[in-house]
Symmetry: C2
Subunit: 528 residues, 2 copies
């Protein structure tokens, strides 16, 4: 394909940090990629700088000039790396046995460079290969109804398409157009079946987790980091929650390490629990490999996985029935709203329970200790009265003082049982939820592209067979997305049920214990 040259219509001050390319009106740029999405292209200036350019700021050498500079496309908000947390589930035990893998470390560093080159390079090549396949360069008029605006229907996920669109980067368009299809063995197929609650991953309930039970291998944080990256690359329709923070300041080293270990365990458990991820070679390798050389082989194999990115959808075998667009859009809109609202709810719950824990550690404890101390002091004074009828009351008051002091201490010990586990679990959901919009954009990209194809067919630029095939493949992406949404909701119900039960049980235990202390104190007055 010949290089596409564009003429810059206006000055543009790009944001280096976001990989944008600055240019002045009149400059000529070479377009490298048009499949970035969201109104951005990638281009190279004549002095060799590369970066993103707003496509409305440039004209392909023969195109007409607009009258005034349109606004650049919207920015994508940077998402902060969260601390991850997890359910209290321990299906998959992975205690510390680091010695056997300690020697990987030096090795890994070499590996690292190699792998980041090879993976980065590979995906870059893949994308370059499918860069512009005839549909990806809509005219400026068409842009008005292109992917970004389509998403605004979902309302809640902002229409700010990432300029490095996950859809585009993952090879979504190539998949939709039926490019690069590989032979899929039957055993590799991932089936989606229709249920009363909608499409679900087949074997969603089957315990693949069993396979990995009672395994005892240890991994370093960077191994987790590597696995996380692989899973993100491979499963574009599945939100892979971020790993727990690598470093948290203001905690004692040992305490933090323990907490992170637990959280990493939860993270792995969640991956193991997933009906699709649990079947993946990469997870299997991570969980089971205990040999240095085999590790390297498996690692490279995983990085060269044929079916990663949008190619994953080649594995997916959805129900035969075509999806009804309106119904699908309703579901997506609803789910986007769900994700956005739940994100807010989870953040609020975290804040509320952080505050609550602080209150328990401080003011709540203090109130009861103050009562306890003042009663103990009163008992000390009452003890000055040595008359026979006085002693029993004095002892009862002294006992009551002790009881309140103990209750104060109970409050102090409560957060690790009650608020902290809840917060940890909520953090894990915060991680999943903040990953989800990006995942949904893959689907949004597919839907947008499918609509473009329909339009092109109407304009006689694409034939029916081609378009039908695109729509079928778009349905595959929709089915996978819906199946994952249902999987998320199932997990959510299970997790929140267990969270709430644990939380309430701890509170009930606490208040029963507190009541019992008061009752015992009360009985001391019976003979006073």
């Amino acid at each position: 394909m010949a290089e596409l040259q564009v003429n810059c219509l206006y000055d543009f001050e790009g944001d280096d940090y976001n990989g944008e390319l600055s240019f002045v009106a009149g400059e000529t740029l070479t377009v490298l990629r048009q499949d970035i999405g969201d109104g951005w292209w990638e281009a190279r200036s004549q002095d060799g700088r590369q970066g993103l350019v707003p496509e409305t700021y440039v004209e392909v050498m023969s195109a007409p000039e607009p009258q005034f500079p349109p606004p650049p496309p919207p920015m994508v908000a940077e998402t902060a790396y969260p601390t991850n947390g997890s359910m209290e589930q321990h299906q998959h035990q992975m205690p510390q046995q680091q010695q056997s893998f300690d020697d990987w470390d030096d090795d890994w560093d070499d590996d690292d460079d190699e792998s980041s080159n090879s993976t980065g390079g590979a995906s870059q090549q893949d994308l370059a290969g499918q860069g512009n396949f005839g549909l990806a360069a809509p005219t400026r008029r068409e842009k008005q109804i292109s992917p970004g605006s389509e998403m605004s229907k979902y309302g809640t996920v902002k229409s700010s398409f990432n300029r490095f669109s996950h859809f585009a980067k993952s090879g979504g368009e190539a998949f939709l157009m039926g490019q690069g299809e590989e032979r899929v063995s039957d055993s590799d197929k991932i089936r989606i079946v229709e249920t009363e609650e909608g499409p679900v991953w087949l074997n969603q309930d089957a315990a693949y987790t069993c396979t990995f039970s009672n395994l005892q291998v240890s991994r370093r944080y960077k191994h987790f980091d590597w696995l996380h990256e692989r899973l993100e690359v491979k499963f574009v329709c599945i939100p892979i929650p971020p790993l727990p923070d690598k470093a948290v300041t203001g905690r004692y080293e040992s305490e933090f390490v323990q907490e992170r270990m637990r959280q990493l365990q939860y993270w792995v458990n969640r991956m193991v629990r997933h009906p699709v991820i649990s079947r993946s070679d990469v997870l299997h390798h991570f969980l089971t490999c205990t040999d240095d050389k085999k590790w390297k082989v498996g690692k490279r194999k995983a990085e060269k996985d044929e079916f990663q990115g949008a190619k994953f959808f080649q594995l997916v075998e959805p129900p035969n029935q075509a999806l009804e667009t309106r119904d699908l859009e309703g579901k997506m809109e609803n789910f986007c709203k769900f994700v956005m609202n739940m994100t807010e709810n989870v953040k609020t719950l975290i804040t509320v329970h952080h505050d609550y824990a602080k209150k328990q550690l401080g003011p709540f404890k203090r109130e009861y200790t103050k009562i306890g101390t003042s009663l103990k002091q009163l008992a000390l004074t009452f003890n000055l009265d040595k008359s026979p009828h006085s002693g029993a009351l004095t002892a009862a008051i002294d006992y009551t003082g002790d009881a309140y002091n103990e209750i104060g201490e109970m409050f102090e010990k409560q957060p690790p049982r009650e608020a902290y586990p809840l917060i940890e679990a909520l953090y894990e959901y915060k991680g999943i939820l903040q990953t989800y919009p990006e995942v949904l954009k893959v689907h949004e990209g597919a839907i947008g592209k499918a609509k473009e194809c329909i339009k092109l067919q109407e304009e006689g630029k694409m034939n029916e067979t081609e378009v039908t095939s695109v729509l079928t493949r778009a349905d595959t992406i929709s089915y996978a997305t819906l199946a994952e949404m249902n999987n998320f909701q199932r997990d959510r119900v299970v997790d929140f049920k267990s969270m709430m039960q644990h939380y309430l049980r701890e509170q009930i235990d606490f208040y029963k214990n507190l009541t019992q202390k008061l009752e015992t104190a009360l009985h001391h007055y019976d003979n006073a």
Copy 2:
């Protein structure tokens, strides 16, 4: 008796507010009273001003001059009028039936002037009559070991004798010296008996209260005020707790009136419960008189009671055994410490429970409401998922949200059940305790005077029969004081037992209720 003239040795700047008389060195004053105590005399200047003067600043016309001005005697701290509170005891019902006594009001005002003149005048005359009976004018050398310093042995009650000494004012010295003895009818006698816990008022346990049960009369606040004054004048060895504040700012009128009514009821109950006070004509009159004219008669009779002030001790029939001085002093010292420490304890408990109530109304409620609200919001979001497995969890979370909101409201409703009744009861004790030091000073005055007499006997200035008789009468005061101390301790044990039981029961009920709410919420997850 000829008027005693003194020469002022130094300038003295008196505090008008405390009724002190300013004078300059060389001025001549006429001494009006030498029985004020604590190093103060009352005198009149030649220009007709009257007031208190430090006796070490003046010399009786022939006495030798000291070299430099000694410090004036210590000041007596002003005691603030407290809000009174009471146990929740309702033996004596006295609902509002104000109409029958409303017409007293105008009448009362006339009465008031009359009575304050007649009482004030009467007691003034009484005191004047016994002003200086030969023992009350110790030489300056003797002053070094006089009443004030004696009290310092008790340590805790400050040696600051009130310059208008309760002992002196009430006619304590006259009683000790056997002056003004009246015939006491057998039925009027108040007997003290020795028990294992020490001397107690006879019939301490007998329910004089029965006599007054089910009476229904109403009194205005000023009637209470009058009764309070009469009881204070009559029972110098009994701490009469102050009435609840006449006005409390910052409350709604109706709420305050109700609260004060309840507190006045508690106050009356406490008087009715007292083994000695309950037998008094003045209380009987207050509780039973429903007739306007009879009221006035009874009122005047009470004001002219023969056995008020120190004369009350004429009624007291103590055990025959003389008290052992060392044992008595130990008891008094211990009790003074008790009163002082308990005063601090009670103040602390009031502060702690005021704070606690504030926490319940504010932060505690807020924490639970925040949890409730955030759970309700989460349920709202979860309700977007209409899949069949989701609804039960959503409902359970919504229910849990309600439960936490209700718990928040429970916290807000708790202070009137828990902290406020305790505070009210503590306030009543605060009132009694702050009255006690003044009461103890009557006894201290008697002990001091008795010691003076012993000294005078040693110096051959008093004969054995006289002194023995003084010591017997001092023992009567001691016995009465000890009986009242024991009465106080008995009441205290009963009251604090009931306070603590009530308090703990309310807390237990509260936390049981709270736990039950959480348990009900937990059960909602059973089928989720």
